[in-house]
């Protein structure tokens, strides 16, 4: 039986129904390509934002530091370490941490001092772009500090005003110094919002008497196409006794949220295609019931049940092919448009952060092989699934009953 000849003719015979079914399949494909691209865009942006605000993609610490963030748990000879890191294709930013008490006017609050080198930090994170008020740290302004927004509110302090720091230095002496607020951050993450006190690492060393070593080195891949796992291994190979962790281990909750969002994309695809599957099932059942007599004749003439199954499947696959081409053309065009222009929600919401992820008001799509291929694979899968019942129904028709069916 020439299925290649029969399938398109059968579809053209009821071209209205075939067109409606194919368009329903095609539009579902378009919606899913756009949806998958937007979700991929959101996931990539969330991952980027989660790492670029503070954490970086990889971090290096002394083995005990994360469990017990002790002022003395430093990684020594940071210069040599930074030099080695530059050879494995990562940008690195050394950081120093300590706890102290900050006071301004009659208010005081516990703070986490964060000593950084602005030029290096800018290569790893984009926190310097995330200011609500004032300016970011400057290498020449040794007294300038930047505060988290809730901390600034607790201290009731404004840009340009003085803040006094009180703590215990590494040598046991009293750490006591006056700084001036250069800037106040937007929402970043709760710990930074409430206690983040950013200062130059040179000022930190002087205040806390930490002459050498760093507590943390945050890193970012220079080439984003390198896998994080490979890069982590390369860093571990040169880091000796120190411990390297990726951002997923450092922010497991956020990593899970993003994994969940990824799973939601698949789930949404599935729900939409189940609906499309119903349309296909209905159309193919109608098509089979309309042709019961014809299938009966074919079987009487010697067509076997398997050939009938092949014919019904060929008709459905042909529709899926046309629908896929339509979906790919329209979906890719729309998704590329959204990749370039995004959907602007800025008139509804401003930039904010959630659980350490900066949320941008413009939602960009990310077109990838996955976002184009996955909806098409789903479309074919659902088509094949939906057509099983009509095909079996047609194959099991008894010729003697079907011939007298009107």
């Amino acid at each position: 039986m020439n299925i290649v000849l029969l399938a398109p003719r059968n579809l053209l015979r009821s071209w209205h129904r075939s067109l409606v079914t194919t368009l329903a399949m095609g539009f579902a494909g378009v919606i899913m390509i756009v949806f998958a691209s937007l979700m991929d865009g959101m996931l990539q942006a969330s991952e980027r934002n989660a790492t670029m605000m503070n954490t970086g993609e990889l971090q290096l610490h002394a083995k005990t530091y994360l469990d017990d963030p002790d002022l003395y748990a430093v990684m020594h000879d940071e210069k040599a370490l930074l030099e080695k890191l530059s050879t494995v294709g990562v940008s690195a930013s050394p950081r120093l941490f300590a706890f102290a008490l900050a006071a301004a006017g009659s208010s005081s609050a516990g703070v986490q001092l964060r000593g950084i080198t602005p030029s290096r930090e800018a290569q790893v994170t984009e926190i310097h772009k995330h200011l609500m008020l004032g300016l970011w740290l400057d290498e020449v302004d040794t007294e300038g500090v930047v505060l988290g927004r809730k901390l600034a509110r607790s201290l009731n302090i404004k840009v340009g005003e003085e803040v006094i720091l009180l703590g215990q230095a590494s040598d046991g002496s009293m750490a006591n110094e006056i700084f001036r607020v250069r800037g106040i951050l937007k929402a970043v993450a709760d710990d930074i919002d409430r206690a983040g006190f950013f200062m130059l690492s040179s000022s930190f060393r002087k205040l806390m008497v930490v002459n050498e070593g760093v507590h943390e080195i945050a890193m970012k891949r220079l080439n984003q196409s390198d896998t994080l796992e490979t890069k982590q291994q390369q860093v571990q190979d040169i880091a000796g006794p120190y411990e390297v962790k990726d951002w997923r281990s450092l922010m497991p909750v956020i990593a899970r949220i993003l994994e969940l969002a990824d799973a939601q994309t698949i789930f949404m695809l599935l729900i939409t295609y189940v609906a499309v599957g119903m349309v296909i099932l209905n159309a193919m059942l109608m098509s089979v019931f309309e042709r019961i007599r014809e299938f009966g004749i074919m079987k009487a003439l010697g067509v076997n049940p398997w050939q009938i199954v092949q014919l019904v499947f060929a008709e459905a696959i042909l529709q899926a092919v046309v629908a896929s081409l339509f979906a790919l053309a329209m979906g890719a065009w729309l998704a590329l448009l959204l990749q370039e222009r995004g959907i602007d929600f800025s008139h509804m919401v401003s930039a904010t952060s959630f659980a350490g992820i900066a949320l941008e008001p413009v939602w960009y799509a990310q077109v990838s092989f996955r976002s184009l291929a996955l909806p098409i694979v789903f479309l074919f899968f659902m088509t094949l699934l939906a057509v099983i019942y009509p095909a079996i129904k047609a194959a099991l028709i008894k010729p003697v009953d079907a011939i007298h069916h009107f």
Partner: protein, 231 residues
């Protein structure tokens, strides 16, 4: 010289067929035995409900008897698998239906070629065979017409061409003249008679058309699912 003995091509032994119609059991064929020899031109006659079509369907392997045995060329049909029965219908039986039953999306040529393609015959050989058959049934020049572009008589000729193109052992024709006018009915009967005589194809009709009965060389009368000895 004694005439060559013809072999029995269809053997029907004590065949019954009953249906359940709602709560009522209907005996369409009742303990019927009949032999059909090779080359016969036989009409199964009788009023509506006498069991003609049921018997024809069982001979063609479209339906199976409730009791009894039907053999076609010594093969017992009830013993064949679904696939083997499909192959038997494809290779050894030709069907001509009352309502033509051509495949509507195919041309006259493609309809006639359909079963040959199922058999896997090479294209060139198929073309030669189909063109020759269409010429024989008087459809030369109408090869590319679809069923809805042909008259009832022309459609029935395509159906006959489709039935005989494979050189089957037997052609089963269910009321083949019921939907055509007198002129076309006579022409179709001429054609089938000629094919029977020239090609030696066995024809079995179910009919209550007197024109068919007049042409048949053997009449088998049925009444209430049994042979009617009084007719």
């Amino acid at each position: 010289m004694a005439p060559a003995e013809k072999k029995v091509i269809i053997s029907i032994q004590q065949v019954s067929k009953s249906y359940q119609q709602g709560k009522v059991k209907v005996n369409a064929v009742n303990d019927l035995s009949l032999d059909i020899e090779e080359g016969e031109f036989t009409a199964l006659c009788g009023p509506s409900g006498s069991g003609k079509t049921t018997l024809l369907n069982m001979i063609g392997g479209l339906d199976l008897p409730t009791e009894g045995v039907i053999k076609l060329e010594l093969q017992e049909l009830a013993q064949l698998s679904r696939m083997a029965l499909s192959h038997l219908r494809r290779d050894r039986i030709g069907f001509v239906f009352q309502a033509y039953n051509l495949i509507p999306v195919m041309t006259a040529y493609e309809n006639a070629e359909f079963v040959l393609a199922l058999q896997g015959m090479p294209k060139a050989q198929r073309r030669e065979r189909v063109m020759s058959i269409l010429k024989q049934v008087g459809l030369q020049g109408l090869e590319s017409r679809r069923p809805d572009e042909m008259s009832g008589g022309q459609q029935q000729r395509v159906a006959i061409a489709r039935a005989i193109v494979t050189h089957p052992a037997v052609v089963l024709a269910d009321e083949p003249t019921a939907n055509v006018d007198s002129e076309n009915a006579e022409a179709l009967l001429d054609l089938m008679e000629e094919l029977n005589q020239r090609e030696g194809i066995t024809f079995i009709f179910s009919t209550h058309d007197p024109r068919v009965m007049k042409r048949a060389r053997r009449l088998v009368y049925l009444r209430d699912g049994q042979l009617d000895p009084a007719a």
